[in-house]
């Protein structure tokens, strides 16, 4: 694998849902080791963008391409994209009644192991693996016995997402408004977890509305998305400017 290749290249991507065009000619290149922030007004297509990369079946790609680690992933199922290393931390992590977090996490972990042609682990082995990771997001093991996201507070849900990102060793992580609904302490814990996880081999896309998150996780690039395309790219200074001026001045 050529590590100098961009991890993600999005070329002139147009996509729609229910005949409604949401992404209009979007271009973006991300290299390993980079953190990109995507900001933009509500309804500009940020969440849609993250779901399209993950392969959500509700969206149809009309033209353009998504190249991940050198090959197009347009024809791949969501689970195949996941196995290749794409991770989406959901804005609203869904509750799954009756399924314990531990079983869910183990199944996800073993699915990846299987894909990598590595040995699947049993529940006891997994317990020690997951316990190490739990510390990274400051969660107790009691958390494992609860059902996936059921009755979790907003902060717990977001921490659970980050835990999964770490567990699955995601190469490209898209964090969709992971900071929304978090208090300062939770934001600090999560940011610490993300920073520790990040290295020169991985990449992160942060979708956010607030400069606040970017104080903790410093982006290499900040993009502004509007009407389904990126209209401006800058450094972290751009985020600060947006915080003061809003999006209006860009038009």
């Amino acid at each position: 694998m050529n590590l100098n290749l961009p991890i993600l290249e999005i070329k002139e991507l147009r996509a729609s849902t229910n005949n409604n065009e949401i992404l209009r000619n979007l271009n973006l290149t991300i290299n390993r080791g980079e953190v990109h922030a995507i900001m933009g007004p509500n309804g500009s297509g940020k969440s849609t963008f993250s779901k399209i990369i993950a392969g959500h079946p509700a969206y149809e790609v009309l033209s353009g391409d998504i190249i991940f680690k050198g090959s197009s992933i347009l024809k791949l199922d969501p689970e195949e994209r996941s196995h290749l290393g794409i991770f989406l931390a959901f804005q609203y992590p869904i509750e799954i009644p009756g399924v314990s977090n531990e079983d869910f996490l183990r199944l996800a972990y073993n699915s990846k192991q299987k894909f990598l042609q590595k040995r699947e682990v049993d529940p006891i082995e997994f317990f020690s693996i997951i316990n190490e990771k739990l510390k990274l997001v400051d969660m107790s093991s009691v958390f494992l016995t609860r059902n996936v996201n059921e009755g979790f507070s907003g902060g717990e849900k977001k921490r659970n997402e980050i835990l999964q990102m770490i567990l699955l060793e995601a190469e490209l992580s898209i964090l969709d408004e992971t900071d929304s609904g978090l208090d300062i302490d939770a934001l600090k814990i999560i940011s610490k977890g993300i920073n520790n996880f990040m290295n020169s081999n991985k990449s992160i896309i942060l979708i956010t509305h607030y400069q606040r998150l970017l104080d903790y996780i410093k982006p290499d690039y900040v993009h502004v998305m509007q009407h389904g395309k990126i209209i401006k790219t800058g450094t972290s200074e751009l985020a600060k400017e947006l915080e003061i001026k809003g999006y209006e001045w860009l038009n």
Binding site: N18, F90, I96, G98, V99
Partner: protein, 485 residues
Amino acid sequence: MNQSNKILNNNITHLVSQPYKYGFSTTIEKDIIEKGLNEKVIRLLSEKKNEPRFLIDFRLKAYKKWKGLKCPEWAQLKFSEIDYQNIIYYSAPKLKKKLNNLEEVDPELLKTFNKLGISLSEQKQLTNVAVDAVFDSVSIATTFKQELAEYGVIFSSISEAIQEYRGLIEKYLGTVVPSGDNYFSALNSAVFTDGSFCYIPKDVSCPLDLSTYFRINDENSGQFERTLIIAEENSQVTYLEGCTAPQYDSNQLHAAIVELIALNNATIKYSTVQNWYSGDKKGQGGVYNFVTKRGLCVGNSSKISWTQVETGSSITWKYPSCILVGESAQGEFYSVALTNNYQQADTGTKMIHIGKDTRSHIISKGISAGNSKNTYRGFVNVNKKAIGARNYSQCDSLLIGNLSNSNTFPFISVHNCTTKIEHEASTSKIGEEQIFYFLQRGISLEKGIELMISGFCREVFTELPLEFASEADRLLSLKLEGSVG
């Protein structure tokens, strides 16, 4: 339908085409009574089985009652009228001579049961379960009879019991489900052909689980079996029932009766995994399953527990019930009913509290997928004299897809003020976003659904005997594969 639903629905079609594993039929020489139902047929049937006088009378009386009854219409079920004159009421594999041991059973039949995973030959028998194998109208073989006899446990086909334990049959048959109880019980009482009989003597805890495996083979014959289990004082027994049928375009009728009697301090645990052929994707064919199951907790501190996993049949009409007569008697009902394609299930329980301090516990889990209809119907009745009675009911429904249907009709009737009743119900749906969450984490659709279903059914599965629990888990995921849309 939006685009993503379409995509998921395509997945369904692909995955649901899982063939029914037990759909084969066996070619074998048969002894049958011509189609049709009348007094002559009943007499002939009784004659073939060499039955005593009281039983012929029992049958003819039931037949008269049946003629005066109408097919019940209150259930949430739609099906075309059954032509009772077009059914074979007696179809038995021709036996060349009287069997002395299992090795003499027709190899075709042994092969059939082997294929179903039930080995009757001595070497390969399940070590902890005694099996009675019923093929169309007759019982083929019963395993471990000798071993059980050492404990005084009687486990035989009901035909054999009628010959050998006439006293017990005459005393108990029809006492829990009277022949005129309902349309299908009257029909069964008139024409029942075989089934199982279990008798657990006083102070004996049955050393093996007892089990009957019912196989419908013939396309035109109905299966009308009858099971009677008697647990004497301080005895205990676990009983399992399994059923399959070949895949035909026509519908087969199955109208069974199960009667349980628990005396003082006795416990009967009755589990069913019902996997009759359920018809094809368009709703063509499948078994009509009209069953009356009832347990009588006549003794003090007696206990009857029903556990059922209903996955098959095109129509299920079934309400395993408990009549709690003895003081502190307990009734339990744990049910998972799964319907897919065009299946219809109307199932639930009745708990009749008569004795003081009687308790009942109902857990019902309904899963409906495809175009199916799944109804829970419950009746909890607390008598004036049932001082201190308690009931807890929980009915959960899980919908898969946008076309399935789920109903809950709990009926509670309380006639004294010392009773404590609790009822909980919930309805949920496996949604597209939950599926996407699994997929995004690299977990396949099948695995994801399996995990959600087994989570949903956990409270019931833990009640199943070990041999059945894993089977049930597997069966459900097989039946449901890809039915999310």
